[in-house]
């Protein structure tokens, strides 16, 4: 495993900007905290032992490196490019989120802080953070929108079992963005002994760069694995994009390879025209703005108020997108597409049946985006799909989406058993 170069292709420019996007728009009270974090991250990055300790930790604790799986049945079903899948679902805690969280955990140890806080939407980042906190002996508070607490209760259960305090956020739309606001407010008070483990490549500098740095392990592995498996680079790489951490991680491995087309797939929800979606870039509905500490393309109205977003996949249900991805979109380096809930459920069903792989609903967006295009490519080409997480966590949502009557019966019986 090579140590990412100090001047990596995903490094931001002036003041944490990627082109027009990024920056740090933080309340003054957090100014020194961000300065401390930038210094700690820069020191860690310059220390070769740090990246080595990160890779070793991920290897012995989290199951890395994750494999790339060739999907012969899916390939034959579409009759075009050969389909390969990067298996981030095989990480400990079931998603790529562990990469970022364990990396930030090592940084917290270097900074000597005793408590971590995090926001979570679907709950995957919350579970990963609670896991890291348990492992490293840190106090942990997770902020989660009240609506998400209700939707994703199994993850709430695990966070609590792992020793975290889970606070249901009742402000605003009671979803991910409100959880981020609540975490920032906690940090404005607690920063002396607390680190905010931002879960995605959003927020103020240095979070977008730092999270990309840790997630770049995905792309670094995947590039070498594709060369091993096929002797050449993939024609296209697909990743779902909520905040954009799994996409940034896998794309980071291919940014210097102009022959590789990078495709981000956003949530079209019930259709972009329905207004119930989270497609900031693909739908052309997003506008540049500044919120939650950074400048990017947000779904907002003409007076800059953020809009409600929607997706069957809670992890994609967010108003903004990583500033590096907004810039790569503007520069034409990453193409953005979107997939509807219905397409996503169909892609999930097909993948389960064909390959015995259960992608998360978030990741299923990347599969749906790829499935739409692979048959137009030649069988000499290969494509790589990033399976950012595993789907068994989504059992309640998937069962609803599939309208599965056996499952409903089971829940009713189970519920009857708990009646007092």
């Amino acid at each position: 495993m090579t140590i990412p170069a100090e001047r990596s292709p995903w490094a931001p420019g002036r003041e944490g900007y990627y082109g027009d996007f990024g920056g740090a728009f933080t309340p003054e009270v957090l100014h020194e905290t961000f300065a401390e974090l930038r210094t700690a991250f820069d020191d860690a990055r310059r220390d070769p032992a740090f990246w080595e300790s990160y890779v070793a930790l991920m290897s012995t604790y989290a199951g890395r490196s994750t494999p790339v799986t060739y999907c012969d049945n899916l390939t034959r079903a579409f009759g075009g490019a050969r389909i390969f899948v990067k298996r981030e679902d095989l990480n400990h805690t079931g998603a790529h989120k562990a990469n970022n969280v364990m990396g930030q955990g090592l940084l917290v140890q270097r900074m000597g802080k005793r408590r971590v806080i995090a926001e979570t939407g679907a709950g995957q980042h919350g579970v990963a953070t609670a896991t890291m906190a348990a492992r490293f002996g840190l106090a942990c508070t997770i902020y989660m929108g009240e609506e998400d607490v209700a939707r994703q209760h199994p993850n709430v259960f695990w966070m609590k079992q792992l020793g975290a305090e889970v606070i249901a956020v009742t402000d605003g739309t009671r979803t991910l963005k409100d959880a981020i606001n609540a975490a920032l407010r906690d940090w404005a008070e607690s920063m002396d002994d607390t680190h905010y483990v931002m879960g995605t490549v959003c927020g103020p500098h240095p979070f977008p760069e730092m999270v990309t740095y840790f997630q770049s392990i995905i792309g670094q592995e995947a590039r070498a694995q594709m060369l091993d498996a096929t002797g050449e680079l993939p024609r296209r790489v697909y990743a779902c994009v909520g905040g954009g951490s799994n996409a940034s991680g896998i794309f980071a491995g291919f940014l210097d390879d102009p022959s590789v087309e990078l495709v981000g797939v956003e949530a079209a929800g019930k259709g972009i025209d329905s207004g119930m979606h989270a497609a900031r870039l693909a739908g052309g509905k997003g506008r540049p703005g500044v919120a939650q500490g950074y400048k990017t393309v947000f779904l907002q109205n003409e007076e800059g108020l953020m809009q409600d977003t929607y997706s069957v996949a809670a992890g994609l249900d967010y108003i903004g997108v990583g500033p590096m991805l907004a810039d790569l979109h503007q520069r034409g380096r990453v193409r953005f597409e979107s997939a509807t809930d219905a397409e996503v459920v169909e892609a999930l069903r097909l993948t389960m049946r064909s390959e015995g792989i259960i992608p998360a609903l978030e990741s299923s967006h990347a599969f749906a985006g790829a499935f739409r295009e692979v048959s137009s490519l030649s069988s000499a080409d290969s494509v790589l799909i990033n399976q950012s997480g595993r789907g068994d966590k989504d059992i309640f949502t998937v069962a609803d989406a599939l309208d599965d009557n056996d499952w409903k019966d089971f829940i009713q019986r189970k519920s009857a058993g708990y009646e007092r």
């Binding site: 009270v29 100014h31 402000d171 606001n181 800059g304 953020m306």
Partner: protein, 264 residues
């Protein structure tokens, strides 16, 4: 119009400070609980003798605010408080009342409006400056330049968490007055003023020559009295809203009179 064009906010404040040792700044979230209630609050502020008023433009992601103002922002948005309604209230208030008015709001509102248009609108409404808590000075160059052309004061924030070097940096950008946050955290919680506030204000004084306002957790007439001789402006935020909601219109008027009585 009570507005005298061509005189900057700091001069206005200095003139008032010649007559009394401490000024009082109060706050409201425009559109909460309603524009009509806002007008009644402004009338009460004026008749009590408040010197300076922050009009907060509601935003959907108010990261520097505590629970009371988060709810106020959210409810004002839900009720519908467009820019036109905000600036209409500001213009009517500056025409009618003798206090100075400053904008308070988040940067996305400013960014979406555009720096030039934002400054033009403030100026037209007779406002004197702006407080944008998520806009650090190093990101404010365009806005500051546009503001200078119209004699609007960008009001920056100093906090106890800032290093001496940072305070000096903020001081080099300061105009109008500096908003000194009495403690860490967000708006709305009580501050123990005996805990190092005097020393903090002393550090701020060293960093800038403009007047100092102290806010965050200033709630009572006793708190205001304690600021005499320390700060130039006592800033009342959440406590004012709590008074309006808890004491009713008459109680609110009395509350403001009691606060102002400690400033003369």
């Amino acid at each position: 119009m009570t507005v005298t064009q061509g005189v900057d906010l700091e001069s206005h404040l200095r003139r008032r400070l010649e007559k009394k040792p401490l000024l009082l700044m109060t706050h409201l979230v425009v559109g909460y609980p309603s524009l009509e209630a806002n007008w009644a609050m402004l009338e009460a502020m004026d008749s009590a003798g408040v010197d300076l008023v922050e009009l907060q433009m509601p935003f959907s992601e108010p990261i520097a605010d505590g629970p009371s103002f988060v709810k106020a922002n959210h409810d004002a948005i839900t009720a519908g408080t467009p820019w036109d309604a905000y600036f209409d209230l500001a213009a009517r208030a500056s025409e009618r009342f003798s206090f100075e008015i400053v904008f308070m709001g988040y940067y996305n509102s400013v960014f979406t409006m555009g720096a030039e248009r934002f400054c033009e609108k403030l100026s037209e409404a007779g406002m004197r400056g702006f407080i944008v808590p998520d806009l650090p000075p190093e990101e404010a160059a365009d806005l500051t330049a546009a503001a200078r052309d119209r004699e609007l004061a960008p009001i920056f924030i100093m906090t106890p968490a800032n290093s001496e070097a940072r305070l000096a940096e903020i001081g080099s950008h300061a105009s109008g007055f500096v908003y000194c946050a009495a403690r860490k955290g967000v708006t709305g919680r009580k501050t123990d003023l005996s805990e190092g506030v005097a020393a903090f204000l002393e550090r701020c004084r060293t960093a800038t020559s403009v007047p100092l306002g102290l806010g965050f957790g200033i709630r009572t007439a006793d708190d205001v009295r304690e600021l005499r001789g320390l700060a130039d402006i006592a800033i009342i935020g959440t406590a004012g809203l709590d008074a309006w909601e808890g004491l009713g219109a008459d109680g609110y008027r009395q509350y403001l009179k009691d606060l102002v009585a400690e400033t003369v």
